[in-house]
Subunit: 153 residues, 2 copies
């Protein structure tokens, strides 16, 4: 059954469920630390994102439960005739809620925001191993035009 | 001969030479508009980047001439234990100055900035056709770990 979700800005009390979604994933599992209480770095990151006018950290809510998340950055740049660009990051849908259109509603919300803010380009990185994600983004009109290169410290 | 460059923040009077570097490229050529005067959108983008605390738009200067540019964004995020991440964009070296280590000095400057600002990750997009750029970034320690997906309006 297709989900009807509300997309709203994340609140501090959503941080726990967002982090659990980030961790509930083969790649994220090794990178996150699910403890009670959560490491304070997650709350500091939430506060930094919340106070940044160029970032929107949002969640998808269904029946009062948070079932997805996405971070959207709107960034200026000189290239493409001084076009603003949007960067989508940290897209997750809760495991038990997948294949019901929630990710699509999140990404389409972000694309609509990017358009409304005058962006000419939306960019995102998806790990080489996330073949399903790449198919999903292609279906929404994204092209696998670039190599996403990363350096981790 | 290896170049010794000064890396400094871009100024408004650098916009023309930056845009010419962005345009002097098979991909950039079709995207930029080199006119005299330059379209005002470039200056608006410069002002937006200059006033954003999370962005550093820098140039490499050699003997008083601007010979390269790079934009660095430092962004918060919840993933990877609330790690700050850096996004490198719009890296260019003037055609007549290539293969002299200028791009490397720009990128190493950005990586050092990212470390100094506490980032755990540096990300960048490079077009699938830029095989030389991919080799260059691999030499500097970047992994081609992701697919960079884009949607242009």
């Amino acid at each position: 059954m297709a989900a009807i979700v509300t997309i709203r800005h994340a609140r501090r009390d959503d941080v726990g469920v967002i982090v659990r979604m980030l961790a509930d994933d083969p790649l994220g599992h090794a990178r996150e630390r699910i403890e009670d209480p959560l490491p304070p770095a997650y709350f500091r990151a939430f506060e930094a994102a919340e106070s940044a006018s160029y970032i929107q950290l949002v969640v998808a809510e269904e029946g009062g439960a948070v079932v997805g998340c996405l971070q959207l950055c709107i960034l200026p740049g000189l290239s493409s005739q001084g076009a603003w660009r949007a960067l989508i990051e940290d897209v997750r849908v809760a495991t038990h809620c997948r294949s019901r259109g929630i990710g699509e509603q999140l990404v389409q919300w972000a694309v609509a925001q990017a358009r409304a803010r005058g962006c000419k380009l939306v960019e995102l990185f998806t790990h080489n191993t996330r073949i399903d994600a790449q198919r999903f983004y292609k279906r929404l009109g994204f092209q696998p035009s670039h190599v996403g290169m990363t350096l981790r410290f």
